[in-house]
Subunit: 352 residues, 2 copies
């Protein structure tokens, strides 16, 4: 068990059972809401059931997937919380990936103006990213995370045993954020990543803890994303637009897949605008391409992608905001680019 | 102009124009969202328009009334914020009563995870109550304020000139909270109130400032309602249930009318349980009856009223929670009562 102590709460990396039992025993919650989807109900809940059996709890199951991370599902969650007499002194346990964590945290933070919640991320993506930093919320009118709050969990329990239930595609998706953390803040970690050939052989704890510590350092310096926290948006301006657009098709992208493609485009912008060298850009592009084989983007989709970017909540006023690399392991926030430059960067995906 | 300085923000009581202009000039918001209903659009917005003209703003009009304080109206507000490119560096001005302030503050606090908002309460009730204390939210499944957050406004502008647009019924409703503040914390203020015969002749600033200061002192001691802030719930356990039930009829109660009736019932419980004398109970009942002529409650509604009380978010577990008076100007939180005692207290409304 490794513990990362943040200002307001702790992340335990390792077997969740003892810390979970300790929290539930100590806090004496009136009720425990366990939020799952059909996947985590099958694959993860049985692992947790033994601890839960000793405490008053009920299960809320929501349908999995980003498409259900919306206000209708919140309405379902709030209604079931109400029907089961959850109150402000209850606890919500979010057992699942980023959708469960973001939406369950939002519902817990707003039900009767807020109860405690505990994040038990079960995907690599949510273990390395969504469970730290207090960003909660849902998609609204097809714009990602456009309704939500900042609020911290009571505790985060990161247990790599849940990762064994994931497909290789989901593992690859989560790996995108590990790449991002290295590119914006840790060149030596990047060099370690370059040696990875087979994601199925990786011991994830070795990468989770350093990655969480990079995110911790950034988030604690700037909890409300007024400044340096925007570093974490590298790859996300274009990546979110690709993700939003693919969400409307029969062939959606996982978050990390979209961000991986976004990181290639935004590395291109970094090479053009903020001092990343041509060689560094090529190295990033080659590595991400090897892991992800990103999809090409059709030119006819450029206007819609730019429109989606212009709605990004990280913008101020009408310009599109980027975090760009100044080299590997270093970045600059609040950069902008013209529509033409952005289109050119997306074209770099088409010459892989 | 009188200014009450809270820990995080200020309340200006008096002419709003100069402080509003100062804030808008200083903060340089990207956009200003002005939330109104059909009433405040007609009666209040024209007074504000002169200041707003110099700043980029747009109007969102929602239908008035507690029945519209729900997630559907939030969806309308968020959609219009999005369509007008509001962002995290925008400001929402809530120009209206408690519904506008609570719901507009909730939407501002959750749109893109939060922008600033400014409360411009236009009813006596919201001037004395809803604009202080950071409680934001909406009704959900007919349970009042059951979805929301705690968050403070940038500033509150309380201008008594807006009160001239109100009906006497609305003034009476707001007066209920002034009565409550006196009963829980200020005996000398209560004695001053007893001399009021005609609400239409009252100079409200004289009562607003002391009442706001009582609420400020309580809220600052306990911002998240873990303890003493529950004092402010006096009259509200039964009052909220009466209000919720009446909301479903053709003859809804205004909030302050429901709380006035609730204060009679809970004063009865205080006399039975926590040391309020028979004479004090009679004095409270006589004064409230003179001002409000509260409705009788039918015995056949008792089960539904008790059910509504059992859903109150102030409860912990299955007991119904009350704040009761130990005398005039003093109270005790976390008191409980049996269903039979609560029914008896409601019967006291029927012997007026």
């Amino acid at each position: 068990m490794q513990t990362i102590a943040l200002q307001d709460y702790k992340i335990h990396v390792g077997d969740f059972r003892q810390p979970l039992r300790n929290i539930l025993t100590e806090r004496q919650y009136t009720k425990i809401v366990v939020l799952v989807d059909e996947n985590t109900r099958t694959h993860c809940l049985p692992l947790v059931a033994e601890v839960l059996a000793d405490f008053p709890h009920f299960i809320i199951e929501i349908p999995s997937g980003e498409l259900n991370k919306n206000i209708q599902t919140c309405t379902q969650i709030w209604t079931e919380m109400m029907r089961n007499n959850a109150d402000r002194s209850s606890l919500t346990i979010n057992l699942g990936g980023g959708v469960i964590g973001d939406m369950g945290g939002f519902c817990a933070s707003t039900f009767k103006r807020g109860m405690d919640f505990l994040q038990m991320p079960t995907t690599l993506l949510s273990q390395v990213d969504a469970s730290i930093g207090g960003k909660l919320g849902i998609d609204f009118n097809h714009i990602k995370n456009s309704v939500g709050v900042f609020n911290n969990p009571q505790t985060v329990l990161v247990d790599p045993q849940f990762l064994t239930t994931l497909s290789q595609r989901e593992i690859r998706s989560g790996f995108g954020e590990i790449i991002k953390h290295s590119l914006i803040a840790d060149k030596s970690q990047w060099e370690k990543l370059l040696k990875i050939n087979d994601l199925s052989k990786v011991v994830w704890t070795d990468y989770l803890v350093p990655s969480l510590k990079i995110k911790q350092a950034i988030v604690e310096e700037d909890p409300f994303e007024k400044g340096i926290r925007k570093a974490l948006n590298f790859g996300h301006t274009i990546g979110h637009a690709l993700e939003s657009m693919a969400l409307e098709t029969d062939n959606p992208l996982l978050h990390g897949e979209a961000i991986a493609a976004g990181m290639i485009c935004e590395s291109y912008l970094s090479y053009k605008k903020t001092g990343l060298t041509r060689e560094e850009f090529e190295e990033i592009k080659a590595f991400i391409t090897r892991i992800y084989q990103p999809r090409k983007v059709s030119e006819k989709d450029y206007p819609e992608l730019l429109r989606l970017m212009s709605k990004d909540k990280k913008n101020e006023g009408s310009t599109i905001n980027f975090t760009l690399l100044t080299g590997i392991g270093a970045c600059k926030i609040n950069e902008t680019a013209t529509g033409k430059e952005i289109e050119e960067s997306m074209s770099s995906l088409n010459s892989l």
